[in-house]
């Protein structure tokens, strides 16, 4: 038995891989939810910062309200002088904004964030990198500038991912600035990678432990199998009486052992039957030979009158006939069981068939001093699919038995009946009947009811076996009911044929 082909191996591999799949799936789900949680937190932190910046800008705008309104009015005016004045005021404003920003930003908790504020013409008003972030210009150049809506975006810089938010600042229904904030995603990735590493290590460790424990457990569970094997090996065909015994064992193993034992029971029974049968065959075939041999030997020992020789030869001839009959019966039984092609079925009226049998056997019965009565009162025509000569043989056999085992002058009844699907032919005698202890065995080969005085001496005990096997070939059955001293009824049941 190769190692990979054992239940032990297959079981541990199977459940280790199932467990592996579950663990991997679990880790993937965990990883994905952790990632989405981290990214979501990142976005909301960015948004939060943006709102802080907005609050700050609102404050600034309120302080600088007059200027803005003034300059905007000028901006809508036309002179270049005014433009310059506007530019100057813008510049002042930026300076104010920056100074103000630097004062305020230190109050904000914008660590590791990049913050820049643009005006609507995309001029950078304020930019801040906190704690020495990367080149802001470069990063922000990649970020889409969107005046209208809040937008998140991930950009790549120096192999580092930066999460950014584009946040337009509106004051009194006018867009004034666009605030962009960015934060490095590296810490989130570090967390994720760490998680992934530990998850993989844990899964691998669990699987290895499971594999070893699985092999151990499977070995324990399958231990009784080895016991069964060694017990089974100890039972040989010469002695089928051995049975498997296992002490405290699991239900499945108990089932296995039980069915094994049941199989042994059946084997032992059929071996015993075969042994009985062949011993019977030998006995039945050898007895006529023993008689013939004894007769011939004695006849040849000295000279005898011719009459005595004739007597011996007649006796020998009878014994030879008896042996031929036994061999024929045995051959027939073997063929009825294994070569059903010797039967030729035809559709026959049951009533007509039984009528013929009655006519044919009536004379025989009369000669032996019995009356054969026919009862064929059936209301409809019934057809059966039968092999006529063989079914006739069956009925003759039953009728012969009836003659053999009933008292002279008694009536023998042959009758036909039916139910929905079967036709029945019954042979009823009022003879000696069969004792209960023998009735179960009369269909066995070579079984003879002991000590029964038959009207005819010889019987080899195969007649009813043959009758029963003929009934079986017709998909029917042969059954018997009997009362000692009152007689027996044999019933042949044959399926009806349309």
């Amino acid at each position: 038995m190769s190692m990979t082909n054992s239940i032990r191996f297959k079981t541990s591999i199977l459940y280790t891989s199932v467990l592996g799949c579950i663990l991997v799936a679990l880790s993937v789900v965990n990883f994905l939810s952790l990632r989405s949680l981290l990214f979501h937190n990142l976005d909301s932190a960015l948004m939060n910062d943006a709102l802080q910046v907005q609050t700050m800008l609102e404050l600034f705008e309120e302080l600088d309200m007059s200027h803005v309104i003034t300059f905007d009015m000028f901006d809508r005016a036309f002179s270049s002088g005014m433009r310059e004045a506007y530019a100057a005021s813008q510049y002042r404003k930026i300076r104010l904004l920056r100074r103000w920003w630097e004062e305020e930003a230190s109050h904000l908790r914008l660590r590791k964030r990049f913050v820049s504020v643009f005006d609507m013409s995309r001029n950078l008003l304020v930019d801040m990198r906190l704690n020495g972030g990367p080149d802001l210009e470069f990063i922000l150049r990649q970020v889409d500038f969107n005046k209208d809506s809040v937008a998140f975006e991930t950009v790549r810089f120096n192999g580092e991912k930066i999460r950014t938010v584009n946040y337009p600042f509106r004051y009194k229904n006018r867009f004034l600035y666009v605030v962009q904030l960015g934060v490095s995603m590296t810490p989130a990735f570090v967390v994720l990678n760490t998680f992934l590493f530990y998850a993989l290590v844990a899964v691998a460790a669990i699987l290895i432990i499971t594999l070893f424990m699985g092999r151990f457990i499977a070995a324990r569970v399958l231990d009784p199998v080895d016991q069964v094997v060694s017990l089974a090996n100890s039972i040989s065909h010469q002695d089928l009486s051995g049975r498997l015994t296992l002490g405290n064992t699991d239900a499945e193993m108990k089932n296995l052992v039980d069915s094994f034992n049941t199989m042994l029971d059946r084997l032992q029974r059929s071996f015993a039957q075969i042994h009985d049968f062949s011993s019977h065959v030998a006995h039945e075939l050898k007895t006529p030979l023993a008689i013939i041999k004894g007769e011939l030997e004695v006849a040849l020992m000295s000279d005898r009158p011719l009459d005595e020789y004739k007597q011996v030869m007649t006796l020998c001839l009878e014994e030879v006939d008896r042996q031929i009959r036994i061999v024929d019966d045995l051959l027939f039984l073997a063929r009825a069981e294994y070569r059903t092609d010797i039967f030729h079925f035809e559709r026959v009226s049951l009533k007509e068939f039984v009528h013929d049998v009655h006519e044919q056997f009536g004379m025989v019965a009369l000669e032996k001093g019995h009356e054969l009565v026919l009862d064929d009162r059936i209301d409809r025509e019934l057809f059966v699919n039968i092999d006529k000569p063989h079914l006739r043989r069956l009925l003759f056999n039953l009728l012969n038995n009836a003659v053999k085992y009933s008292y002279k002058g008694s009536k023998i009844e042959l009758s036909v009946s039916s139910d929905k699907s079967n036709g029945f032919i019954m042979v009823k005698d009022s003879g000696r009947g069969i004792a209960t202890e023998h009735i179960g065995r009369i269909f066995d080969k070579f079984y003879r009811v002991p000590n029964v005085e038959a009207n005819e001496s010889f019987s080899c005990g195969l007649g009813l076996s043959i009758a029963s096997s003929i009934a079986r070939v017709h998909s029917g059955s042969l059954s018997v009911e009997s009362e000692p001293g009152r007689g027996s009824v044999f019933t042949v049941s044959i399926p009806l044929y349309d």
Partner: protein, 121 residues
């Protein structure tokens, strides 16, 4: 004159052996069932039982056990169509064994052998 009891349910064989052994100068009784044989054996001391194995109702092997229990020195020659090995398996410690197919000459020899041998105990 030795007395022989033949226990045999096959009538032709019983008849043949009876007349043959009578011709050889033995006194012969015949029974066709085991129970009948036991009754005869109880009242008529015989020197040898010629015992068939395969009989209706009570087999020869069973009769042998009973005889052996009550009459330990009874001499029994097993006579059957079973081959000798099978006879020995069924009745292991009989005085002798005879396969009916061996014929009457062999039967006579076996009968003489068993009768000449010392009683077993």
């Amino acid at each position: 004159m030795h007395r022989i009891l033949i226990v045999e349910d096959e009538k032709r064989i019983a008849d043949r052996y009876t007349s043959f052994l009578r011709d050889q100068g033995y006194e012969v009784f015949t029974c066709s069932t085991a129970s009948e044989a036991y009754d005869v054996f109880k009242v008529n001391p015989v020197d040898l039982v010629l015992l068939d194995i395969n009989m209706d109702q009570i087999g020869g092997d069973e009769l042998y056990r009973v005889l052996h229990m009550f009459f330990r020195d009874a001499r029994v020659l097993v006579s059957s169509v079973y081959c000798i090995d099978e006879q020995k398996r069924r009745i292991p410690d009989a005085s002798g064994y005879f396969d009916k197919a061996e014929g009457v000459r062999v039967l006579l020899n076996r009968v003489r052998e068993v009768l000449q041998a010392e009683p077993s105990s």
